[in-house]
């Protein structure tokens, strides 16, 4: 890790003022310090956000809940209101890392984290995503990589929370200079679809302040499959959410994680119409196969994604 200046922000305005070209925000630090230790990024200044008041709050007082960017993953996983009302969010949080990571990692940091591609993270390599010429994964060892991508880089988004928050129609509020900007979760990642250098749509100096989650979707779930039984990245993750009124379903959405540089929306007229019979679920899951463009070593993710779509929808229905 190269040396840097360290500054502690006391307010969102203060953080923005401290932000200079080449500076980085520090919250939980798991992602940032990991990149710094491999010399992937070497910020001149690190701005510690953890003492900014208000960013650590979970506000459930209106129908749209507001979670501060500094709320830790552990707090999300343990929050009784979240477990009761947005179970998928609690499930996604409880699958993040390990207790030690969940205790420090934050909502904002989880959404803004960078690629875990092993070429990108390798200290001795300079891949496409790091500004080099080649995406080594495309022709190389790509068992953990994307089934869908709009650019030559095939590293997938790995944030668990992005997948469930996309399904819950959450909006991410950030400060961009003096302006407050609100992005949907798909918008937060859309730049990564087409731009190999992008991990998300954040611009330098952008600061995620909080996330707003509408709560009308009364059913949600998050599932992932990893090689290990615990503390492992998802090979594929899947979140499903919807509003059930009587026997009818509204606003159903299904997203996949770890298969594309963005949370990947599973599209189907059946989902749009809220048809979730077991036959319909089977057909939704089936349709994914024709859309995916697997690489040499990640074709196995297709059946996993299909199984997770089936299981997630079956779970919210039952």
């Amino acid at each position: 890790m190269k040396n840097f200046e360290y500054a502690r922000a006391r307010s969102v305005d203060g953080a923005i003022q401290l932000s200079t070209p080449g500076s980085r925000y520090l919250a939980g630090g798991i992602d940032l310090l990991g990149e710094m230790k491999e010399y992937i990024v070497s910020p001149k200044r690190v701005i510690d956000l953890k003492l900014i008041p208000d960013l650590g709050r979970i506000d459930t007082s209106s129908s749209t809940w507001k979670l501060g960017a500094n709320v830790t993953i552990a707090e999300i996983a343990k929050s009784e209101p979240i477990r009761a009302t947005l179970p998928g969010l609690a499930e996604a949080a409880s699958e993040v890392g390990s207790p030690q990571i969940r205790n420090v990692a934050t909502l904002g940091g989880n959404l803004a984290q960078h690629s875990r591609c092993w070429y990108y993270r390798h200290r001795d390599l300079h891949c496409l995503k790091r500004g080099g010429a080649t995406c080594y994964a495309r022709e190389g060892e790509n068992k953990y990589h994307s089934l869908f991508s709009g650019n030559p880089c095939v590293s997938p988004v790995v944030s668990n929370l992005a997948v469930i928050l996309a399904a819950l129609d959450a909006k991410v509020s950030l400060r961009r200079g003096d302006k407050e900007v609100q992005l949907t979760v798909p918008e937060l990642y859309s730049d990564a679809w087409g731009n190999p250098l992008a991990h998300n749509s954040l611009q330098p100096g952008d600061l995620i302040v909080h996330v707003e989650i509408p709560t009308p979707k009364n059913r949600s779930t998050y599932l992932q499959v990893s090689e290990k039984s615990d503390f492992d990245w998802a090979l594929v993750s899947c979140a499903a959410a919807g509003r059930k009124t009587g026997d009818r379903w509204f606003e159903v959405s299904v997203f996949l994680g770890a298969v594309a540089p963005i949370p990947y929306r599973v599209e189907s007229p059946l989902i749009e119409r809220g048809e979730l019979s077991s036959a319909a679920i089977g057909s939704i899951s089936q349709s994914l196969a024709s859309q995916a463009t697997p690489l040499a070593h990640n074709g196995y993710k297709v059946p996993i994604a299909q199984a997770l779509i089936r299981r997630a929808l079956t779970r919210i229905v039952s």
Binding site: H122, G140, E227, P303
Partner: protein
Amino acid sequence: MSGWPKNPHQLGKDHLRYDGPIKVRGAAKYASDMQPAGWLYGMILRSPWPAARVRAIDLRPALGIPGIRAAVTANDPPFNVRYCGEELGAVAGLSKQACLDALSAIKVEADILPFVVKEEVALRDTSPRVFENQPNAGEPREMRTGDVDGAFRSADKAVEGFFQTPVQLHHCLETHGNTIQMRSDGITCWASTQGISSVSDGLADNLGISLDKVHVISEFMGGGFGSKYGAGIEGGLAARLSKEAGGLPVRLMLTRFDEALAVGNRPSSFQKVRLGAKKDGTLVAYELESFGTAGYASGGTTAGGGGGAGFPAPYIYTVPSTRVRQTSVAINAGSARAMRAPGHPQASFGMESILDEMALALSIDPVELRIKNDPSETRRRQYRIAAERFGWNAKYHSPGSSQGPLKTGVGCAGATWGGGGQGSEAEVKINPDGSVEVRCGTQDLGTGTKTLMTIVAAELFGLEPADVSVKIGDTTLPPSGGSGGSTTAASVAPAVFDACQTALGELASASGISDPRGSNWRAAAAHLRIKPIVARGRWKEGLSGRGVGGVQMAEVEVDTETGLVRVKRIVCVQDCGLVVNRLASVSQINGGIIMGIGFALYEERILDSQTGVVLNPNFETYKLPGAADVPEIDVILQDMPERGVIGIGEPVTIPTAAAIANAVSNAAGKRVTRLPITPSHVLGLLEQPPQIR
């Protein structure tokens, strides 16, 4: 025949670890914790290239970094590097940060050369050579017995398969390294090692000094698994840095990244196996053609530690006619070292897999087929015991036949190991106050060697282990051997026994009390006044044995939609002769099985063909079993006290992966052909619907 007491009061019981209390307080000092006055932090610069001709290394910019006190090159340029991670140089300074900055500052000029990192590619004549003047493939090791072709013709059934095992890394939690102080009057080395004497030899040799000037200490060490015998290149570099820094001590421990590259591994294997048998299950013919890599030095004389990429074949079972051809192939990657039962887990996976195929072909129960062909009476008995405890007959079903997407399966496998004793010495001191000290120049890898020494002394003196103190891990103590090959318990226990017997005799004559043991102890010792008894002992025949058998059975659950495998239960029946410490033996067996689970399901070093780097030099993508991956483990220790003390560190890790692979094949209805058995592999097998035989 065993010279051990027939009715022991300490041997074979559950004993608490001698150094448990100090370890749970974090107070045990390992080589990586040493901070002698004035110590410097040391770090190594490694090659980022898989193959290169290094023309020049400029250390001056590193020496200009504030806090840096020494910098050395690993070799005098020009020289070749043959894998990513090969040592280029090293620095020592006041902090880790200074060293990191210094490593970045060193300028290396090199010509990058063509390389090869995949075994099957390295075998081709057209591929780049790891060493210019020799082909990548070494001379094959060939063995033949009987008339194989004739035997296959006479067989009622023949089955064949191609099986593949990955390179597995040791990944001891304490990285390799030493804290070394090199002064004009000699060298002191706090080593993380399985062999203080081999570290001593290595340093003396490397530095051109005599052995009496080398003092090696290793009171605690954080795991070795076969990879920590010598001081390593890192030890030599640390000594040179210390010398360069005017004799200040240098603590040079490797990083986790380094561990994945440069300090050994279990070789890979690619095995084409063919097996022939009679209708009644009698094996008649076996053929193996295999290759694998033990790293860049494969085919040379230094690779592998346990015989390069070769392995025992046919494993365990008696087959009258065999033809075996094994090739070690060099690639541009770090060299292998002995790793817990070198060769055996690979051998077991190939053999036990093809044997299960034969059982299916002949419609014979897999356990019965093993009992029929296993020459070891011990293992044949163990299969019966294991089957009973496991519930094999009720659980075994035809492959893929359990209902639903979540399928269960069972599998079994056996193992053999030597593990005999060898010439260790030990010393016991009985003080006039009755206190007892046992000393031996061995080391404790976490297996419980210290505890074992207290148990043996307590047994002979009629005391409690808590009454005995222990000194080990120091080259000034009576010489012992390296801790490898599961020989430590069988070497050290007899030496302590011998020393104690001599001391007991001396105490009897000095005190005039014919049996000074137990309740007479203090009174007898008091007769010594100011002169303690110091007695030396050495390993002798009759107290240790060699050659153990063990079998394991595994039950797994396979999610055929996601390819996920979960091990539900392992039953292990293990022979280990005379059990000294039952509790520690169970710890050791659990550990071997869990390492076997890692080999079966998770662990694999992954090299990149385009760049030659190790892509998973960390615990994020080189996956070790964690708490949630551990199944119910049921250990049955088969006591055979008449055989004396025998080590079990290695045999228990051998059959686990094969048993799991057989269980997964049984669940899925498809033959597992490679380790680790990841969702990717399982779903690949299941691309076609499971076939029911």
